[in-house]
Structures are given as structure tokens and as C-alpha cells.
Symmetry: none
Subunit: 520 residues, 2 copies
């Protein structure tokens, strides 16, 4: 296989995705992270399209980059205008990047119907722009928009457009599968034909509209493509671009193509970019998702322990991820042991306490508990079974009340009272809230804060409710999952009851006790 470079367009094509936006500072941070990681090109934005992108290039030009070439993205010159008079092309030069990527039209239909220039003028637009940028000393990448749709309809004209770019001095022609709807076989065959025609390799830029964005890029690499363009986590317009987070390990680990990347930082990179984009991690993301190496079924868990590669396609540590054994209703002794040992508990082989813990897990699971996502409750359970637990307080009574006054000027009142015994004292508090659980949470904090001042650092980060067996309507059992945080760590706890308030109470108390135990 010939060498392959990675071209990241998270900061340009990625931001076309619904809900994705970065500040200028975010962009700099992402670019630095990508440079540390070792990608070859970082497309920073489209300086002609918005001031934020222009500000990024201004900032980027002052910094030094380890390995990556920063590239600016733009279009071929407008029709019927001299290239040196086009303000958008001028801004491309003003970006002062070592490389520039220019997109041009390939599809005759697009040229004449949408852009309303002649086919000949389009070729001149491509040729003039590439030549002009080369004259100014730039490395020029030429993105052939819609290449595959166009090639299907009119291969002759499609080839003319990229030949125009090549003859004008473009350093690389990139075939863009702009609509994202082509299938791998067609991408492979077309790429092979184009490489033969140009007499040199091309780059590939794909989208995921048919769910095969990664497979299409792999197909092009098989046909000889020497550059893959994509985005971290597959951000991008519509359903997104080729997901670099997936294709990089496919290329380097599976196909043996050395990209010069240390993939043990891959998971970090993926989560870092999600954090800055402020989008939730996809737990099911290949390689880097939280669930990517999660084993739930008891039978599988048994097999994974015996021989990891029976249910793991790669060693999770190669991509900075890790194996997770979850506790589920299929749990057996092996799951419980692995999980407990991961928390630092040590058990000798045949230790009778493991049986006791397992019995308690099974009893709670049959009541509707799930410890899969509630590791803090699981640890509290083990401590209780091992006698390593002292309650912080005794609950005497709580009372929550919710009143709705109807009519035109309807309003609600929601309050809770709590009576507890702690440290020899009886504490009695009342507070209100947005709902019964929020009121209870507020009243409990009010009661405990004077006794445990560290609680001021802890807050709830997430609250999930699940009805376990909906079949009995509003009398069904409720499972509440609460995630708490102290700003650094997060931990999750679970409570189950026929009553949502009671279930929430259990999870709340577990979360507080866990926090104070770890703090002490």
C-alpha cells in the first residue's frame, strides 16, 4: 500500500453539522490537539465566509506547528471575473497558510443549472485559481466537488475539470463524494479509473449519507488513494463526513498502513473534540465510544476473560480505550468479581464473601436494580456486604407535597420536609423545588450541609428515570439513575421503588454517602 496522509476538516466541514460550532479559541485548541496527535493537514476554515474563520488564520499564522500543515479552504474564482480581482481568493492568500484547498465544480448539471456559467468558463475558473495560488507559493489541493455523481453522468467532462486543475499545477486532486450516497464498489472502481487517467494518486473526501462514509474512503484507498479527508467523530453536514476516528485505526491497525500516528491518544482526542463542541459522546462510536468494548452478556463475559479476541476486534488499549464489564441481569460471578477488583477490592479464590455479594446483586436485580451505569451504588453495596459501611444519618421522616391550583391563573407549589438524626442531633428542614424530587433534594442538602460542609462541592449532573415494567401503568416500578459531580469526578447511583420519590431518595442518599466516603 502507498503512504496515506490524513486531512482533517473538523474545523470547516465539521462545523457545517447541525449543532456544531466552535469559538475561535476552541478552533485553536482543536487544531493544537490535532497537531499533537499527528494528522498531516488541518483545514482551519473558510476565510472568505466568516470573520471567525479569518480570526483563526490570523491566530494560527503566529503559532508554530509540529507536523500539521494548516490549510485554508475556498472556491474557484467567480465566473466572468479575473482571479486577482476576486475578494474571496484574496482572503485565501491573506490566510497565510502553507497549503490551500480550492473546491471547484465537476458536475455539468451543477455548473450550468445552478451556477449558470458555461462549461468552458468553469474550466477556466479552475485553471486560473489553481495557477494563481501556485504562483503565490502555496501547496494547492483541488477538491473536485460532486465527482462521483458527475462521473456517472458525464465521465468526459468530469475528467476535464480535474485535468484542468492538474495542468495548472495542483499538488493533489481530491475526489469528493459530496452527496454521500455512493456505494463502495462504485467509489473503488471510479477512483481506480481516475488514478489511471491522471497517472498519479488522488485524495478522497466522503460523506456518510448512505451509512458507508468510512467504507467508501477505505474502498478508494484500496484503489490507490493517498489522502483521506474527514472529521473527528464524523461531524459534518447532514449525517456527517467520513469519521476519521474510525478510519484511522482501520487504516493503521487493520490494513497495516503506517500513518505515523500514536493511536493510544485516539479516544482522548475524540472526547476532547466532543467536549469543545459541547455535544454528547456517542457511546456507540466505533473504537472510542464508552460502549465500544463493553461486555454485557454473561456468556460473552466468560469468553472474553478466557480469550479476549473472541469478542474484541482489536485490543482496546491500542486506541486508548478500555474493556468494560457491565453488571446486568445476565450477571454471573465472573462479572461481579472483575468489577469489584477493578474498584480495588481483593478476594481470594473461593472467598465466601463473593457469593454473599453476588446473592445481594441478584436480589436487587430481581427488584429492578441495574448496576451497569451505577458503579457508585455497586461499590456501596459491596461495602455494606463487607461491613465497611456506617450510615451518615438516620431518616426519621420525609414529606413531600405538590399542589396545583387550576383555572386561568393556575400556579403550583412543591415543597418537602425532612427529619433526620445525625451525630446525636435531630435535624428538621423544609425547602421547595421545581418538582417533588428537586424539593426533597434541596431539603436534604439543607439538613446535611452544616454537618458535612464538603457537600457544597457536590452537585447533581444528571437525572434519569425509567419505568421498569410499564405494564402496570402508573403503579409500575421506577428506576432512578443519578449522576453526581464535584467538578472533577462523576459517579452514578441508582434507586428502585414503586414510588419515584422513594427511588430518587435512595439514589440521592447513595450518591451523597459515596462522595463523603471518598472525601474522608
Amino acid at each position: 500500500m502507498s503512504p496515506v496522509t490524513i486531512y482533517d476538516t473538523t474545523l470547516r466541514d465539521g462545523t457545517q453539522g447541525t449543532g456544531i460550532s466552535f469559538s475561535t479559541l476552541d478552533k485553536i485548541r482543536v487544531a493544537e490537539k490535532l497537531d499533537d496527535f499527528g494528522v498531516h493537514y488541518i483545514e482551519g476554515g473558510w476565510p472568505g465566509s466568516n470573520p471567525k474563520d479569518a480570526a483563526f488564520f490570523e491566530e494560527a499564522s503566529k503559532r508554530s506547528w509540529k507536523k500539521a500543515k494548516i490549510t485554508a479552504f475556498g472556491m474557484t474564482r467567480r465566473g466572468k471575473m479575473k482571479v486577482e480581482d476576486d475578494p474571496q481568493v484574496k482572503m485565501l492568500l491573506d490566510a497565510k497558510t502553507p497549503a490551500v484547498t480550492v473546491v471547484g465544480k465537476t458536475w455539468a448539471l451543477h455548473v450550468t443549472e445552478v451556477f449558470q456559467v458555461t462549461l468552458e468558463e468553469n474550466l477556466a475558473m479552475i485553471s486560473d485559481t489553481v495557477a494563481y495560488l501556485k504562483k503565490h507559493g502555496r501547496e494547492v489541493l483541488y477538491d473536485a466537488e460532486h465527482f462521483f455523481d458527475s462521473y456517472k453522468e458525464n465521465p468526459e467532462y468530469s475528467l476535464k475539470t480535474i485535468k484542468a486543475a492538474q495542468d495548472a499545477g495542483a499538488d493533489l486532486i481530491v475526489l469528493c463524494e459530496t452527496n454521500g450516497g455512493a456505494l463502495p464498489e462504485f467509489v473503488e472502481e471510479t477512483t481506480r479509473q481516475v488514478i489511471a487517467h491522471l497517472g498519479r494518486p488522488v485524495g478522497i473526501h466522503t460523506h456518510n449519507d448512505g451509512g458507508v462514509g468510512v467504507a467508501n474512503a477505505l474502498a478508494a484507498v484500496r484503489a490507490g488513494a493517498c489522502q483521506v479527508q474527514g472529521t473527528i467523530n464524523g461531524y459534518g453536514e447532514r449525517v456527517g463526513n467520513c469519521n476519521l476516528t474510525t478510519i484511522m485505526p482501520n487504516l493503521q491497525i487493520k490494513m497495516g498502513i503506517d500513518l505515523g500516528l500514536d493511536l493510544t491518544h485516539l479516544r482522548d482526542l475524540a472526547h476532547f473534540v466532543d467536549e469543545l463542541a459541547n455535544v454528547p459522546h456517542d457511546i456507540r462510536a466505533p473504537y472510542v465510544g464508552v460502549a465500544a468494548f463493553t461486555h454485557k452478556g454473561g456468556l460473552h463475559v466468560h469468553a472474553v476473560q478466557k480469550l479476549a479476541r473472541t469478542y474484541e476486534h482489536v485490543d482496546p488499549t491500542l486506541v486508548g480505550n478500555q474493556r468494560v464489564i457491565t453488571i446486568s441481569d445476565m450477571s454471573g460471578q465472573s462479572n461481579v468479581l472483575i468489577k469489584a477488583e477493578g474498584m480495588g477490592f481483593k478476594f481470594a479464590k473461593g472467598d465466601a464473601r463473593v457469593q454473599t455479594i453476588l446473592a445481594e446483586v441478584k436480589r436487587l436485580e430481581s427488584e429492578g436494580y441495574e448496576f451497569e451505569a451505577a458503579e457508585a451504588s455497586f461499590e456501596m453495596l459491596i461495602r455494606k456486604q463487607l461491613g465497611q459501611y456506617q450510615p451518615l444519618f438516620n431518616l426519621i421522616e420525609y414529606h413531600s407535597t405538590h399542589r396545583f391550583h387550576g383555572g386561568e391563573h393556575g400556579f403550583e407549589t412543591c415543597e418537602a420536609t425532612i427529619k433526620i438524626e445525625a451525630g446525636g442531633n435531630r435535624v428538621y428542614t423544609v425547602d421547595e423545588g421545581d418538582g417533588p424530587v428537586n424539593a426533597l433534594d434541596n431539603a436534604l442538602r439543607k439538613a446535611l450541609l452544616p454537618l458535612f460542609p464538603a457537600l457544597k462541592d457536590m452537585r447533581l449532573a444528571d437525572y434519569k428515570v425509567r419505568i421498569i415494567d410499564g405494564g402496570t401503568g402508573t403503579a409500575a416500578k421506577t428506576r432512578v439513575l443519578i449522576t453526581s459531580t464535584d467538578g472533577n469526578a462523576t459517579w452514578s447511583t441508582v434507586g428502585v421503588s414503586f414510588n419515584i420519590i422513594d427511588a430518587s431518595w435512595k439514589a440521592l442518599v447513595d450518591g451523597i454517602e459515596y462522595f463523603l466516603l471518598k472525601r474522608s
Copy 2:
């Protein structure tokens, strides 16, 4: 291309996914939806693994199915045991399904190292189990676990295992890419060789660990596979199974393979299953995601308006989706129209009332409502906008209270009072319940039953709660989805509020009013 059948395993392999679980009723509803949609096989679960799956088959056997064959999943018999003595195999028969899928071991390493039986005994386990199930009149599908990893290491033994299944009478051999790490080229080539060896087509079952789950199944189909196994929305262990929601349109629309499916219900199906699994929709899902046909870039929008196919790989209406031009919520006029007409409302082209309804839908969606799985609330909304609605009663006040007395003999009291005005009377009732919502439900029924005796036939069948924005802890917004039934029909309603009790109240009242409206 030869005909291809679709085999759905959302209810079995899908539930191995982190965070995915269905109640028995959920499973029935999903199966009915899949049957309406037209898939060929619905794998309902593993009767030998848990009582919930056994309950599903019990219920499924009482119903009639339009087109789909319900299948039960299980393993080959245990080693060193007669097949008729294996309780797990017995439960497969007890499931009374027309078809049964049996998974067996292919990989020598797996057989000897993990399962510790001899390679010969493994062949006997496969052969005995298939023959026994055939003798009992079942259509038998044989899942060859780990086929691709195994074939790479030891093609000879791998082929022996599937030959054993074929010789014992299996109706279809399914090649399973269990680890999800193979790449399309290898899947295609291997499938081609196996089909040549067996002299008949096989099925394909893939996972997405390398991000090419769909591409791998497509590759197998190109090689002659006649069945694709997968899950709705790609649920499944680790990163998930082959996403049927993506591959079905790829096969039918792009490859021209007639699956006999009306794909205009595809988006509905995908969102329905997400709602029942209580997981958020992936906005970037190919074909069915909210963003799948969303155009954000100004340039693209211009082009899309001029000529849709310049930036759309398929017409979105073919899969029940729609083009979204601005970054806003998902509803467009056509969506609302299609849905309303499906309920029997008729609108002339350009009817101004459609705009009014759409505006109200958009307003409620921005508050957190979703009508995908709450068709009864949607109908009530339309009736309200058309002036075809009279409230049954006016709410004056409700009050719910929950008291927990702690200590050794702790007990709870949960009660609600309701004050309403109906038919000129003021009615004031109190009742208790298992939780605040159940108490409220009971008190409301007590108030309404004398006025509307038909209510005795109606009961709640399911109750789901979703926290919309978990980031704000127990003060987050709550969406409640209630399913009601009169023993024959079921209908679902939705309510949203910062307060779970208030959200439940809205959904409860909608459900009761809808029922009485249909009865009158």
C-alpha cells in the same frame, strides 16, 4: 440480484446494547410495528435466557402476524448431553414459533479453549440440534458465530461446521461477523467462497465495530447473500449491529433489490423504536435522522432549492423524512399533513388551518414535546386547533402528598385530592396510590367514573418518563409518555413539564379525553 429477506433482531441482539431494554409489552409493540412495516423475520428473544423473553413468546403465539415469521433464538445443545435433555433447547420448542435460529461455534479456538469440548463434539452438537428442531417441524436458521475470524484461521473446520448444519437440514446458514472487525473486501470474498462451497446462498449477520457494519452486509449481498440480519437504529452489543434502518433503503432504493417494503414508513419506525427503548434519536442517523436532509450552509441551500439532487442522495420523502432548510425542529408542513390525513382529517391544498396546526406543533416541540409515539395527543392537538374539542371537565385544584416514616417499621403514605367542575357539578375526591402519579390517577378516575361510566373499560398499559435535559439535575424538564388500553386498542399520549406530576397529569387527561371522544 437474487431476492433478499430482512431479519430483524432488535428484540434479541439489540437488547444486548448498553442502555437498551424493553418490557414484554414494548416487545409486542415493536414486533407489531415491524410486522406492519413488512420485515420477513422478527427474532423475539432467547426464551432460555430470561422469563421476559419467554413471556413475549407466550403472548406472540396468541396473535396473528401479517407477514413476518416470529423466530426464537437459542444455542446448540450443551456438550455431552442428549439434545432432548437440554432444557434450553426444550424452551426453544416451547416458544411455539414457526422458525428457530440456533447459534453454534465455528472457531476451533473458541470451541476448545473457551467451551472446552472437542471439535468433533461441536459438530455433533450442531448436527443434533438442527436435526431435532427440524424433526419438530421448525424452519431452522443456523447462525455460524465468529465465521469470518474462524475462516481466516482455519477454513476447513469452519466449513465443516456449516456443512454439519446444512446436512442436518438447516433451511439457511447465516454467516456471523461476530467481532465486527472485518473489512468489506474480506467479507465479500469469503461469502463468495462459502456460497460456492455450499452450493446455495447464505444469510449475513454483521456488527459495526469497525464502522463498516452496513458496508460488510452490502458486500455479502453483492457476493450472493440472500438474507440480511440487523437491528433498527443499529442497536446491539458494543457499538451495535448492522443498522437495518440504513441498509434497507440502500438495498431497495440504491441497489434495486425489491424487499417488498414501503420505505415511506421508515423514519416513523426508527423513531417509534427509539421512543419505546427510551433512547434519544441520533439526529445524524443516515436516511431517518432529523439532520439527514438538513441544509445549513447558505450555498448548499441555494443549490438544493434550485436542484435538489445536487445535495441530496435520495428524495427524503422516499424514506418518510423531509428536507429541512433552516436549523430548526423537525416538523414541516408535509410531515404534519401526512400524519393528520392518516388520522382521517382532510385538508385542501393551501388550507390555512394547516399552518395554524404546524405553528402549534412547533411551539410544543420547542417546549420538549415529541409526537412520534403519542399519536393520540397529536390528534387531540389537531382537534383543539380545528375547534373540534370540548373539555370534559375543568380542573380547579389537585394536591398530591407523599409521606415516608422512617425507622425500623417505616411506611409510606401517598395520596392525592382532586377538585373538578364537570356537567355543572363540583366533584371533590381523594385517593391513595403507589406513588404520587398513581394516587392522582386513582383520584381522577374516582371523580370521573360516575359521569363517564365507560371509563371502567380503560386502563393504563404503560408509563414512561424521559428527562429532557439531564444537565440540570433534579430540576430538569420531564416528558411523560402514557399508553392506555381498553383491552383492544392502545393509544399513547404525552405531557411535558418541569414537574413530573404535572407532566403526568397532562398525559393522563389527554388519554382519558381521547378515549371518551372515540367512544362517543
